[in-house]
Symmetry: C2
Subunit: 148 residues, 2 copies
Amino acid sequence: MQMDMTAIRQKFQEKQYKFTPQRQTILQAFADHGDRHLSAEEVHGIVKQKTADIGLATVYRTLEILSELDILQKNDFGDGRNRYEVSAANMTHHHHHLICLSCHAVKEFEDDLLETLECAIAKKSDFLIVDHHLKFYGYCQDCRTKHE
Amino acid sequence: MQMDMTAIRQKFQEKQYKFTPQRQTILQAFADHGDRHLSAEEVHGIVKQKTADIGLATVYRTLEILSELDILQKNDFGDGRNRYEVSAANMTHHHHHLICLSCHAVKEFEDDLLETLECAIAKKSDFLIVDHHLKFYGYCQDCRTKHE
DNA sequence: CTTAGTGCAAAACCTTTGCAACTCT
DNA sequence: AGAGTTGCAAAGGTTTTGCACTAAG
């Protein structure tokens, strides 16, 4: 997955955050595994294999910053830990999640239909809406066939 | 908020769960505060004031059961704990949440438009969809005026 | 140089679990 | 009577924090 490093570096500068090697490495982990929803522990595992021995605390602190800068999106899929993915703001399409209540598999689907609803809600509610998350819960094909 | 106790009692029987005084008290807490999104700790506080001294572990176990029976809905609004409210299944309209990123206020809005989308997704994705959660993130009126 | 970031270990937090005593059905 | 439930305390797992040390701008 490609990321606009110039734009990211700029976001760091705006907030006067330093673009340290550790932070770059963590960002690289998402460039390499942009398709997955990584937990802090998983990110820690990936960067550890790769090169440096980055502390878990640093991973947490970096994920926090990357979420704040809207580079990553923090997700809770109900498995007891937060999971991160490259933010919707950096993608052409919004996408949402289908979560299997049985095996916790997460499938994605694209969506452009919600913008209309978002505008309508914003007008009625006095909220300045900057993002939305839509999750569908159910049972995936595999679990349904197994269960029979 | 009114709840159909007969229906609830029946759901308990179907799964052979006992309808103990503790569970009734916890349910009552939601009848009394059905408008709020209660955390386990808050429920514990409410029932403790009220009468019995119910253990926190029991609260957690009961909330788990009530979610499983689809009487309550478990929510994560990003403040580090789960919050429960009377389930959409027991309401006439689905409702969703507007979450203020600044003060964590949660505002609700109703929605009936999503059923169409849900059907379309279900067909394409091989998922048996049983529920959906839609959250909008932004900044509420109060925080926007304060910030200026 | 100065301010922010790192690593480690300890602490904080929410949630779950083991177990003996207890109580609905 | 018997299976399920409770309360307590301890354990579990994730995330945060204090602090001395290090490094980026």
